[in-house]
């Protein structure tokens, strides 16, 4: 497979540039495929971001009372202490049920083209409504979320301040919008951004060689843009299907969204920022070693057997995508009242 990058650059080899330590030429090539994180919070569609809304969204993100049981918050599976995910193959949710796919990181997710592994949610607001209602995750209902929020005067005030001019601001839509606004702040500038922004020394020589390999071998054909992935949909196993342990046959990916045969086993290209913080890998969460994951990508997507040295360098480059977490002050949440719906761990069959 010829990479987009090779098409763009003709016969030039980034690897040669990396070896000759011409950082600025390597950067120029890289800037054809990638973009540094913006220095400000991105604008959201139909959702103006305000400090009040960010604070409200943070409270909601950390509030376990948004789940039926009172056990799980957004942060349970997208834990800001551990790379924005939960370090499990698939999450454990309501009634100790297992989720179907690996929990993706919330960090920088605002820059993904769409949300979930299959891209079934257009944005983070739509995404936020999913796990809250999923029977195997938070097992709640929009009506119960709104009743919970309305039972606490402090939440009522915060919604009012976050959605000024609305007669009835405490809604499930606004709940999701506030979470989206908060999540848009979860941006982690990394050494790779510093490199793209002009700092030659932000990457080690090994990381530069890894970057060059990442472009030369074609990884960047799918994993590109500001999130080094998160845009575009591609079949997992484009060249060669990985084993059923890594690609379970009963999860056909985006096929469930589009019901188009071409979308069988198609997934959104995984965004790779902070990837070395978010093992295990793939939608199945079956691969714990990033080196193994890179090698599988080589054979399954590129038809290339990467040797150990190449894998090491690419993994070194991926390490340069691990960024600095924004400092998060843990919220103090509103107090329940006697009107607050009681938590229930009961598992209701579908």
């Amino acid at each position: 497979m010829t990479s987009i990058w090779k098409i763009a650059l003709g016969t030039a080899s980034a690897m040669a540039l990396a070896s000759s330590a011409s950082a600025s030429e390597l950067r120029d090539y890289a800037l054809e495929m990638f973009a540094a994180l913006p220095s400000t919070i991105p604008a959201l569609k139909d959702n103006p971001v305000t400090p009040q809304k960010i604070d409200l969204g943070k409270a909601l993100f950390f509030d376990p009372r948004m789940s039926a049981s009172g056990v799980f918050s957004c942060n349970s599976c997208h834990n800001l202490a551990t790379g924005g995910d939960d370090n499990m193959p698939t999450s454990i949710g309501h009634g100790w049920q297992k989720g179907p796919r690996n929990s993706p990181t919330v960090l920088n997710a605002v820059f993904n083209e769409a949300q979930f592994w299959d891209g079934r949610a257009a944005d983070l607001a739509e995404q936020a409504k999913g796990p809250v209602q999923a029977g195997v995750e938070m097992a709640n209902t929009p009506a119960n979320v709104v009743a919970t929020l309305n039972s606490m005067p402090q939440y009522q005030e915060w919604f009012k301040a976050s959605f000024p001019g609305e007669d009835d601001p405490v809604t499930f839509d606004n709940f999701a919008k506030a979470i989206e606004a908060y999540e848009a702040t979860l941006i982690t500038p990394a050494p790779f951004d510093a490199f793209l922004n002009g700092d030659d020394n932000a990457l080690t020589d090994e990381q530069k060689e890894g970057l060059a390999l990442f472009m030369d071998t074609g990884c960047a054909s799918c994993h590109n843009g500001v999130n080094i992935g998160g845009t575009g949909y591609f079949p997992f196993g484009l060249i060669e299907k990985p084993g059923a342990d890594v690609l379970p046959p009963d999860d056909r990916g985006r096929f469930a969204v589009t019901e188009t045969a071409d979308d069988s086993y198609v997934f959104r290209a995984a965004p790779l920022r902070n990837i070395d913080q978010t093992a295990p890998y793939f939608h199945s969460g079956k691969v714990w070693d990033l080196k193994v994951a890179v090698a599988i990508m080589g054979t399954s997507q590129l038809g290339t057997e990467l040797n150990d040295d190449e894998v090491d360098k690419i993994v070194a480059f991926l390490g340069s995508l691990t960024g600095e977490m924004p400092q998060v002050t843990y919220p103090v949440l509103p107090t329940e009242t006697l009107d607050t719906p009681r938590p229930t761990g009961e598992v209701v069959p579908n």
Copy 2:
């Protein structure tokens, strides 16, 4: 029942003082029974508190990888966002099992004479070892905790810095000591402290009357000291046993610790700081309304039918025990390695 306070003060009535708004005399009486929170972190037995140890303890407190499943951290059931507890009758733990007793708040717990409802742990370090190993809570083992910690170089460094001079600082004992050091910082100065410290206006008139009632009716006989409870052991149902819903017959409290008949249904007097943030109430967690809880205490412990006005005033006073949370920066935790034991949600029968 004659309260300790009445014995100390003879025939004087705090209620009369509250009514006459003699705040300083009311304070003098109150200072016979209560103490304001200290302004500094208390010293811990055999556990010098250092900034390094506090930071390590905070990381451990928030780290879900300390549980076998990777789902639960200390903060899951002692959530600093919601009054230091989890707002459930009893906690949900490993395998969706229910814990036997209501999760008590971690806030100011360092000032309790002993830990757990039955006082079976002498201090917070001993306490911290309990839930981690309890099959219905975090279901982990000391060996697995130590293996998990040792698998992450950042934790190794933090333990070294926290326990200088120790050859092998990553131990289960030191894990518990670091958590104890962090928990000792979780102190919440409240309006009642300001009142004890000389601010006449820190309590409303209703709260002052409630304070007077709290002393006059005898509540303060058991709920006294710096934590307004948390010291001393008393039978639940001293005068009249509450119903089996509130006092389940199969939980005999401190009897399980001492195996002494006198300790049947005996519990440590509940510490009352932040009590209006920590519903539901009692070791059984069966009472959601603080007013109902106060009324039950009146009949069961004091043989007094408190009227609605008295209950309201006492609850108003209890509200003055709700303090300001220390600002908590959410930690960024060490990253797992390939040596980190994998999380398992498997439920192993005893």
